[in-house]
Structures are given as C-alpha cells and as structure tokens.
C-alpha cells in the first residue's frame, strides 16, 4: 500500500468504517451459510470441535469416557450435538469485520485476526466442554448457560479483546 493510500485509509470517516464493518459481517455470514451442513458436521465440527473437546475432557477427567461422533459429543451420560451457530462463528465474524474496518497496519490486523480467532476458538471449546458437564451434572442449568449467559459473555469478552487490540494499534502508531 502506498503512503497516499495509507493516509486515505486513515481518513475514512467513522460512518464509512461502520458501513465496512456491517458489509464485511454480512459477506462473511453469507459465505458461512453457503457451507453445507454435512461438511460442517462431518468435517469441521468433528476435527475442530468434538474430537478436540473429547480428547481434552478424557485427558482431564478419564472417568467421563467421552467420544466424538461427527458433530456429537457422546458418553454414557450425555449426548451433546454441535450445530451451525454453536461454533463461535457469530462472535468470530463480528471480530473479523471489526478488525478489517479499523485503521491499522496489515501486519497488526493479521495479529488481531490470528490472536482473536484463537481466543474465540479456545473460549468456545471451554463453553462446549462446560456445557457437556452441565448436561451431565446440572441439566436444569443448560438453557440458562446455553441461551443466555454464554452468548452474552463471549460477545463481552470479544469486545474487551477488541478494546485491547485497538489500544495497542494506537501505541504502535505513536511509537513509529
């Protein structure tokens, strides 16, 4: 990117940045909806979510004997299915769009994307692992955590990560 185009990028008004943010979000969301359910369930969720979750739970709590079958975490006591939208994608798309829309260097944006995506992935694994234990030991808490506490907490954590990321962008800009 030339110095001129960098300056032009920095000068974009907040309203235009907000539009970029929303358009990016809609485009990413639309692309995500084009992925067939089978691909998500059999490949993405199996390799990326259920198998990892099962390994972690079995590693920490061997008595649970959890197995991953496609997009389902199965044990003798619970059967937890991961479906589209339960993969942290909503929070990830928000963060990716917000990072793209913010005036920062490409390098710092890449740092934000990789760190943010890793953080959301980790939080989501903790959420799914936690939900497994809730299904097993506190079934009546499931809806409270699944539909109410977990989604709002993830978004708040993503907002805080974004505040940290934007704050360090400024620090870098002053330092240069």
């Amino acid at each position: 990117m030339t110095a001129l185009s960098k300056a032009q990028t920095q000068r974009l008004s907040p309203a235009i940045r907000l539009i970029i943010f929303v358009v990016c979000y809609l485009l990413i969301s639309f692309s995500y909806l084009q992925i067939p359910d089978e691909t998500l369930a059999h490949t993405v969720y199996y390799h990326g979510v259920t198998r990892v979750c099962a390994d972690v739970i079995n590693g920490l709590f061997p008595k649970e004997s959890v197995a991953a079958f496609q997009n389902v975490l199965v044990s003798g006591q619970a059967n937890l299915q991961i479906v589209r939208g339960c993969d942290g994608s909503g929070a990830l798309f928000l963060l990716v769009s917000a990072i793209i829309a913010f005036p920062a260097s490409v390098c710092w944006k890449l740092v934000g994307l990789v760190t943010g995506a890793s953080l959301i992935y980790l939080i989501n694994l903790i959420r799914i692992g936690g939900l497994y234990f809730i299904v097993v030991y506190r079934t009546d808490w499931f809806q409270l955590v699944h539909v109410y506490l977990a989604p709002s907490l993830i978004i708040i954590l993503v907002c805080l990560f974004y505040a940290w990321w934007t704050g360090n962008t400024k620090t870098l800009a002053h330092g240069q």
Binding site: V147, Y148, A163
Partner: protein, 209 residues
C-alpha cells in the same frame, strides 16, 4: 485506550455483565410481560395473514414466549398442497434468549468510559430505546420464522422448493449471529449520538457567548 486502563475496564465490564445477567434472569417474566404487547404489534404487522396471540409460559425452570397463529387465508405450499385457512400453529422461544441483546448492549453502554453522569444517563436512555427496537427486530421474527419452517418442511416433503420468505431469511441470519451484531451496532450508534449531542451543545454555548 491505554493498556493500563484496560484491566479496570475489563473488571467493570464483567461485573456489569454479571449484574445485568442476574437482573435479567430474576426479572425475566416481568420484562417479558412488559415486552409482550410490543411483540404482538410487531407480529401482526409482519404477518397480517395470521390471527395471532402471544403468551409467556413456564416450562420446567424456564420461561418461554409462545406464539399461537391461525391462518386467516390458505397458505399454498405447492401447486398440489395448501394449508387451509383456520389451520393452527405454535412456535416458542426461551424468554432468556430474547433478553441477550439487551444484556449485551447495556453492558457495553454502562462500561463505556464517560466523564459525566449526565452522559451516562443519555447512553442508558438511548440504549433502552434501541434495545427495545432490537428486541422487536429479533424475537417476533424468530417466532414467525419458526412458523414458516412448517411450510418449508411441508414443501420439502413434496420435493417442492418453496421460495424462502424474508422473515425466515432474517431469522436464520439473526440466529447465526446477527443477533449479536445488532446490539453492538446499536451501542456504537448510541455512543456516536452522545458525541454528536456534546458537539452540538458546545457549538451552541460558543454561539451564545
């Protein structure tokens, strides 16, 4: 934002989130009952072909919002099949699910650093109005989308591709994550509105002096 202010801000955000979540949980029925008339108006506006009513029911430990609709006119699913007028459907969603956008938006607005209490009040007032609008954009459409799924499934069982109604497309978008986008956008909008009002006030006072 300076790095040294991030830790107190994070603690503040988490405390506010916890308090708001607790309040939302304990007062969910009262909040739901207050929102219900607005939801009913929204449902009637979005689906004039249905006679509808909404109620809050307790299911085990949870509250759900249940939408009951009766078709006022036949709904064609294919050239061979139509749901006749008078056919009834119900759809429901967890009341807590409807409150999530409010918790997210109000947490952001109560955490957002402002120097004066009057500015905080402005953010809260603007936040409550926009949160109501978001609830109207998400919950009634979710319930109507669930009703529409009945028609889509009937068409699918006949190997007929029924065009997806706008309310169903919107519902899918919301449930895939736009439900979280809306409160964040609304919170940003409230902060921008507040900055604008401060600028306008400053300009007015400069002109008066």
């Amino acid at each position: 934002m300076a790095n040294n202010s991030l830790l107190p801000l994070s603690v503040k955000a988490l405390v506010i989130w916890l308090v708001l979540s607790g309040l939302g949980f304990y007062f969910q029925e009262a909040i739901g009952l207050a929102l219900l008339p607005c939801f009913e108006v929204a449902v009637r506006m979005l689906a004039p072909g249905f006679s509808s009513s909404l109620k809050i029911l307790q299911q085990n430990h949870d509250y759900v919002i249940e939408l009951y609709v009766r078709l006022l006119q036949a709904v064609p699913v294919s050239s061979k099949l139509a749901f006749p007028a008078g056919k009834e459907f119900t759809a429901s969603t967890h009341l807590m699910h409807a409150l999530v956008p409010i918790v997210i938006e109000m947490t952001v607005l109560l955490t957002w650093p402002v120097p004066r209490f009057s500015q905080r009040l402005f953010l809260v007032a603007a936040g409550l109005v926009s949160a109501l609008l978001i609830c109207l954009l998400t919950t009634p459409t979710l319930l109507l989308g669930l009703i529409e799924i009945n028609f889509q499934e009937a068409a699918l069982s006949l190997n007929v591709i029924r065009p997806e109604p706008l309310v169903l497309t919107w519902m899918v978008y919301c449930e895939m994550g736009a439900r979280w986008l809306l409160p964040v956008i609304a919170a940003i909008g409230c902060v921008c509105l507040q900055s604008l009002s401060i600028k306008t006030n400053k300009q007015t006072s400069v002109l008066n002096n």
